[in-house]
């Protein structure tokens, strides 16, 4: 930072340790929590990726014998569960944690310690799911856990790990949703009206509402699964008079909004990246925001299109076919707005832009194959084939993961102060794009040729051999591209080019401060006069509407803001991590009821200890007085 206010420096430095493992465990800084989420997501991405490679290796040749049927069931269940709940969601949470306050001009989220609790609950939830591999096998009933696959009680406790793991991950998401919603409502800098909020902040806001209203539904469903398994209730037991289709409804009432939970943050990132690298404002900005809100609302009205073969009857099927076709409209609005944004722009083909363009192209393919699923007769043929696998990988990998990598390359210099290598970044992008299409494009053909999902083997002579081999080759190309990314990360850490405050000529508030930002974010709380506030500080417009450098362009901190007498930042606290650890212990106990009830009680005591200490501890210790 060009001008560091020594008073501020002194005021905020004292109570915060900066180094060591303990400072990460106790941190309440939204940026550090964001980094924790990000690193965890990348770790789990490698775990989920290895699971995917095992699946593809098994399917490379007919009658594969790399995995047993049992191991294969665990792999596809855990691959999906890991990628959805432990990779894409926390990666989006990483960006939201790190950048929501920065984009809004705030010093932190509304509840810093609650934020830390969300992370630690997520972390222990992921750990809980993963240790199942070592204690008798991982969940094997599919990530959707349809009854009776999830409710029949075998010798093993696998689906207990699944039901409880999803439950606790849901708790983490509800807590952070409450936190983010409160942050947006109450913490925006003066002048940052709702419609001036950056589109990424808007999408994070919509996602928070989606999670807040969809997770309680599956929470109830997961309780019912758990009770069916362990207490003998009859919710989903067809023999006892219950209805397994109820579970499908409860799961997809959560599961479909969840799809938008996964894609909207990526859409927000792309909406930030495209204007910066086109040097144009986002085309139809408010339209993009409102179509995001529309997707949020309509996302609750399409769930039964996952159940067209469950026998819902023609009226329900027709209704859900129509709503499903209709939700493509706001999505299409966004695509056209993004294309219009880059149209005629002064494009700079840096890695973030490449990933964003890749996102648009791949997401359009996935979106179009999604529309084919809305046609009930066609979907009845495609259901449970590889065509569906192709579709959702085009939207979740080609969409969400490409968008998230765009965000990683875009914001990496702000987070670490160093630019990722451009050449390696481009190699990463092209390898990933080629590998991705090699892997998943053939699955359209395989699916239409009749290859079913979730079967661990296919016989010779059905015409599946060629495209399966291509798909497996493609999956290894993807793995190679991720290796290139990891090398780029390692290399940049050692000798990366310093980024400076504003390497991309950015438009939003996070580029006004140093890289990495000071932990109190802003010396003075910025005053916001327009959308894209930093851009309008730097550039005016000539008569033709072209950007020209503003006369009084200054460096460093251009925002005239409100000065504080003192800055109070939240103190570190170990109570959130302790509370989450207690929950983790009691969760393990719940798997092994009734013997485990001892662990349940012990864990709950630890949680109560954490909560009690928390409520007695002041948010800010004035240790610097």
């Amino acid at each position: 930072m060009a001008t560091m206010n020594p008073v501020i420096e002194e005021a905020v430095a004292a109570p915060h340790g900066s180094g060591g493992l303990w400072s990460w465990v106790t941190t309440t800084d939204h940026k550090r929590i964001g980094v924790l989420y990000g690193v965890s997501a990348i770790m789990f991405f490698i775990v989920g990726g290895v699971e995917a490679l095992l699946i593809r290796t098994q399917l490379a040749l007919p009658n594969g014998d790399v995995l047993s049927a049992d191991a294969y069931n665990q792999m596809f269940t855990m691959h999906a569960t890991t990628m959805v709940f432990l990779v894409v969601m926390p990666a989006a949470a990483a960006f939201t944690n790190y950048f929501l306050p920065l984009l809004l001009g705030a010093r932190d989220v509304a509840f810093p310690r609650l934020n830390a609790l969300s992370y630690w609950v997520f972390f222990f939830g992921g750990l809980f799911l993963t240790i199942s591999f070592f204690v008798g096998g991982a969940p094997d009933g599919g990530w959707f856990g349809y009854a009776p696959l999830s409710t029949q009680v075998g010798e093993v406790v696998r689906m207990d790990y699944w039901a409880l793991g999803l439950q606790i991950l849901g708790l983490a998401s509800v807590l952070s949703s409450v936190n983010f919603i409160t942050t947006v409502f109450t913490m925006r800098a003066p002048g940052m009206t709702l419609m001036r909020m950056p589109v990424f902040a808007w999408m994070a806001f919509v996602v928070s509402f989606l999670l807040l209203f969809s997770l309680p539904i599956v929470t109830v469903g997961l309780f019912q699964v758990f009770l069916d398994r362990n207490l003998g209730t009859l919710f989903f037991s067809a023999a006892g008079g219950g209805d397994p289709v109820l579970w499908q409804h409860l799961f997809w009432l959560f599961g479909h909004p969840e799809v938008y939970v996964l894609i909207l943050p990526a859409m927000g990132i792309v909406s930030e990246v495209l204007p910066v690298f086109s040097r144009k404002p986002l085309f139809g900005r408010s339209f993009v925001i409102f179509s995001g809100i529309a997707i949020g609302f309509m996302g609750f009205g399409v769930w039964a299109h996952h159940m067209f073969t469950s026998g819902l009857g023609p009226v329900a099927e027709a209704a859900f076919a129509l709503t499903t076709m209709f939700i493509a409209v706001p999505t299409g609005v966004k695509i056209f707005n993004w294309i219009a944004t880059i149209w005629g722009g002064a494009l700079r083909f840096k890695t973030p832009l490449l990933f964003s363009l890749g996102f648009i192209a791949m997401f359009v393919i996935g979106g179009l194959s999604g529309v084919t699923h809305s046609v009930v007769p066609a979907d009845s043929q495609q259901h449970d084939t590889y065509y569906v696998v192709a579709h959702f990988h085009y939207v979740l990998f080609g969409g969400a993961i490409f968008g998230l990598f765009s965000g990683i390359y875009y914001w990496w210099p702000k987070i670490t102060g160093k630019l990722l290598n451009e050449r390696l970044g481009k190699v990463h992008f092209w390898l990933m794009l080629i590998g991705f299409n090699l892997t998943f494009a053939p699955m359209h053909i395989l699916g239409l040729a009749g290859m079913p999902r979730r079967t661990y083997r296919y016989p010779k002579g059905l015409g599946f051999e060629f495209w399966n081999l291509i798909a497996t080759v493609g999956s290894y190309v993807i793995a190679l591209s991720i290796a290139v990314f990891l090398v780029n990360w390692w290399r940049t850490t050692r000798r990366g080019e310093a980024a400076g405050n504003d390497p991309w000529d950015g438009r939003t508030l996070e580029w006004t401060i140093s890289s990495p930002p000071p932990h109190y974010n802003f010396d003075t709380v910025p005053l916001v006069h327009s959308e894209d506030p930093f851009w309008h500080e730097k550039y005016g417009e000539d008569e033709a509407g072209h950007a020209v450098p503003a006369v009084a362009a200054s460096s460093g901190q251009p925002q005239a803001g409100l000065a504080d007498e003192e800055i109070h930042m939240p103190s570190p606290s170990y109570y959130p991590a302790l509370t989450a650890f207690g929950l983790f212990i009691s969760l393990i106990g719940f798997v092994y009821v009734p013997v485990g009830l001892v662990a349940v009680a012990g864990g709950l005591l630890v949680t109560l200890w954490g909560l009690f200490g928390w409520s007695m501890e002041p948010l800010t210790r004035d240790g610097h007085e």
Binding site: T186, F235, E565
Partner: protein, 200 residues
């Protein structure tokens, strides 16, 4: 350092007063709870007639008894309002009395629920009897659990006011507990109507 000391340590330029922030969060959380109970009630409505070989609602429910315990819970909302009113007027003594009265009424309601559950089990309805039994017990137990957490919050608020822990933002704490308590009451009105009155 500056001589200015704020009543609320988080209060600085650009940061709104903390009581307001907590209230927004509580409303968001209660929004989530609506979907939680909505799902439980929907499950019950689906299974209300699936009684299998076990007893049905009409065989079990004692409407006069449950009406009285519902009335007790509704009265606890009145005492909660009085507690909030007293805390607004900085009347700590009355506030404590009304908080404890609210907690007492809540515990009376819970005792009624325990009695009712015992009766039902004696008449042959358990969670494993039928989908009706499963959904009835799980729905009402989750509501009872919410009441119990509310009672703990009420007692904690009352006792913290003795130790002076409530200080300047004490009114806010009472208001937050009140929001939660009224919400749990409103959910009970829905449950009483849908689960009890419509079934017999």
């Amino acid at each position: 350092m500056s001589a200015v000391t704020h009543a609320d340590p988080t209060e600085h330029a650009g940061h709104p007063p903390m009581p307001h922030v907590r209230k927004v969060a509580m409303w968001a959380f209660l929004g989530s709870e609506c979907l939680f109970f909505g799902t439980l009630i929907s499950t019950f409505l689906l299974y209300r007639n699936r009684t299998g070989d076990g007893p049905a609602a009409a065989d079990l429910f004692d409407i006069p008894f449950t009406s009285i315990s519902s009335f007790i819970l509704l009265m606890s909302s009145l005492t909660m309002v009085l507690a909030h009113y007293a805390s607004e007027r900085k009347d700590a003594r009355r506030m404590r009395i009304w908080l404890l009265a609210t907690a007492l009424l809540g515990m009376t309601f819970l005792a009624g629920q325990v009695f009712e559950f015992t009766e039902f089990v004696e008449h042959g309805l358990t969670v494993t009897t039928s989908p009706f039994g499963s959904s009835f017990f799980v729905l009402t137990s989750f509501h009872g659990g919410h009441v119990a957490i509310g009672v703990i919050m009420l007692l904690a608020t009352a006792f913290m006011s003795f130790g002076g822990k409530l200080r300047s933002d004490g009114g806010m704490n009472v208001e937050l507990v009140g929001l939660y308590w009224h919400f749990v009451d409103i959910i009970w009105i829905v449950i009483f109507t849908v689960v009890y009155l419509l079934q017999v």
